[in-house]
């Protein structure tokens, strides 16, 4: 028997990374291994969020890591992506928390907020003392956020918000929500962003229970009943759907790396299992059908990583086009889910136990496949990009 070569060694991705990037990767990898993985299954089983780890995530610089100034780490896109990939090796819920805090709650304030808003919120959010969430989706407006019903009406110096948001990551534990609402009667161009703070009258965030996916990440609604938001809490620099969509582009970039972490966790688990599990007198790793599946996983992981790195390097020079991010998100989340399902089938009976990370990642990836633009929506974005025809 020849000595097996690891997937990392096979694709030699290290050659594409700088010393610093490797150190970022190694650091977050060790953090997840020591601080998260021992509890991952239990948190998932009990539908619990590891809020006690927030100060540690903050100390590492993982909250708002890709932003500059205001106490943020100012990491390069590739370093940021690698960090998220390692977090998601732990659990997609852990990565979701970091993505929402950094890309969906801090980013809009950093990009579109007033100087006073930045100074007031960003340092506390980077320290993890203020948790944020992002309220775009509504019960009747998911893939089509332009159809949102939430309204903001000017009343004297304040805005009065009414409406309901659903599927909001971290809303139950948040101190503030970036809520998107229409200021006009129905036109999506009138969408504005508001920083709604915990304690404002009429602002509630009931938890959504019974999720069979992302159980370690709290998801909730945002209920807005005549919430008075002062003018200075409106994001001054952006109007229309471009606001929320540009935040999603940031988050989706990170997810392109992140999903590969979940897939790699499944691959590592199933590879070790296949070498160990003896059936019909041989380890299943020595069966052709099994090897074919393992090879498929390894190939998709390699291609996905190279694509993510390519766009990461591009992003170091200039903003990516939304369609480029769609390409990466759709491909990498799609293959991650496929890898997780295949790994689940190879573990067979053991594949449905939380004792192995595979079923947890597989279930989590169902959400990742749907949120941040469903797989179909990204197909439509790419289809429109290539043909010039909208098929929405």
């Amino acid at each position: 028997m020849a000595d097996p070569v690891s997937l990392d060694a096979l694709i030699s991705i290290d050659h594409l990374l700088s010393e610093e990037e490797k150190l970022v990767q190694a650091t977050v990898r060790r953090f997840v291994k020591e601080r998260y993985l021992p509890r991952a299954a239990e948190l998932f089983a009990k539908e619990q969020f590891a809020s006690d780890l927030i100060p540690e995530l903050a100390e590492l610089g993982l909250l708002g890591a890709s932003l500059t100034g205001y106490g943020c780490a100012g990491m390069s896109p590739v370093s940021y992506g690698l960090a998220l990939e390692e977090l998601e090796y732990g659990d997609s819920g852990l990565r979701s928390f970091a993505s929402v805090q950094g890309s969906l709650a801090m980013y809009p304030i950093w990009k579109y907020g007033s100087e006073a808003q930045k100074q007031r919120f960003l340092p506390g959010m980077a320290k993890g003392e203020l948790i944020g969430c992002f309220g775009l989706t509504e019960p009747d407006a998911g893939s089509d956020p332009g159809a949102m019903k939430t309204r903001a009406k000017k009343d004297g110096k304040d805005w009065v918000l009414n409406g309901a948001k659903m599927w909001i990551t971290s809303s139950p534990v948040s101190h503030l929500a970036v809520v998107w609402a229409k200021t006009g009667d129905g036109d999506a161009r009138s969408i504005r962003g508001f920083i709604v703070e915990r304690g404002m009258k009429g602002f509630e965030t009931p938890t959504m229970h019974g999720k069979m996916s992302l159980r370690a990440s709290p998801t909730g609604e945002i209920v807005l009943s005549d919430v008075r938001v002062p003018e200075q809490n409106m994001l001054p620099e952006i109007e229309g759907l471009r606001g929320p969509l540009s935040c999603l582009t940031q988050a989706r970039f990170g997810i392109s790396f992140g999903a590969l972490g979940a897939a790699r966790a499944c691959f590592d688990s199933v590879l070790a299992y296949a070498k160990d599990r003896v059936i019909f007198g041989k380890p299943i790793a020595a069966k052709q059908l099994v090897q074919q599946k393992l090879v498929m996983m390894a190939m998709e992981l390699a291609k996905g990583k190279i694509m993510a790195l390519h766009f990461g390097r591009l992003k170091e020079q200039r903003d990516l086009l939304p369609a480029q991010v769609s390409l990466c998100k759709k491909n990498n989340v799609g293959v991650a889910l496929e890898i997780a399902r295949t790994a689940r089938s190879l573990l067979a009976g053991n594949g449905i136990l939380l004792e192995y990370p595979v079923i947890r990642h597989m279930l989590n990836l169902e959400s990742v496949f749907t949120y941040e633009g469903t797989d179909e929506v990204h197909t439509l974005i790419l289809g429109q990009t290539l043909t010039g025809e909208s098929a929405f």
Binding site: E19, E20, L23, T27, E56, E59, L60, G61, A73, S79
Partner: protein, 276 residues
Amino acid sequence: MKILVALKRVADPDNANKVKIPGSGDRVDTTGLEWKPNPFDEYALEAALRLTENGQQPKTRAGEVVVVTFGPKETETTLRAALATGADKAIRVDATDDQLDGDLVARALKTLVEREKPDLVVMGKQAVDGDSNQVGQILAELLDWPQATFAATIEEEAAGSVLVGREVDGGVAKLRVKLPAVVTVDLRIVAGASVYSTKTARTFKYNEGVRFAALPAIMAAKKKPLTEVKLAELAADTKLKVTYAKFQAPPARKAGIKVKDVAELVDKLQKEAKVL
């Protein structure tokens, strides 16, 4: 307090089974192995960082940590990682493993100590490749400094000393060591309540283990000073005292067997292993 920490990179101890010995038996073949910092040296760095800070959140630095390694250019990765974790400056003594033995490393370190003038040298109790467990002891002897080896706890004391706990059969022996001194550390040193500077409240508990480099610190580490020194500058005589006669892999272990029940186990222990 100023502390000097010696760091060595070793072949990844988790993959020790990949170490190969060529037929000639004159060396250990390290091709294809991943390099990691020696774990005990990482513990030494963690102990040194704890001794030079107020541990409360957020931590504040109160002292200086200098890290030194002996190795080729690539070992600067190990030093950069240490700088990212919190060390203040780094020195690389240019050398390869085959040019070194414990005695020479200790002699070169002695010169470095005389240059850097630390109050304390903290080292791992041994490197997990050669497992020689010598450098700290020889260095203390050469410097004529007190030494405390295999430290499980270190407390800095106001009067210019450290109180070192060593686990011994049946309990813990405490040694009060006057500074300057050499301390080598064991695994326990990274437990939550094992190292205290005079600044850190005795009620404070660290997270167990070696701290994580903050991501901004990883980027900032590039700007911290890292200097290269030639081995010959530090030791006039670079002849080795230890020479290796031959390397030999341990005999491959046979796979174990599974027994049905206790009766079969007892039977095998009696008849085959003949230990009962």
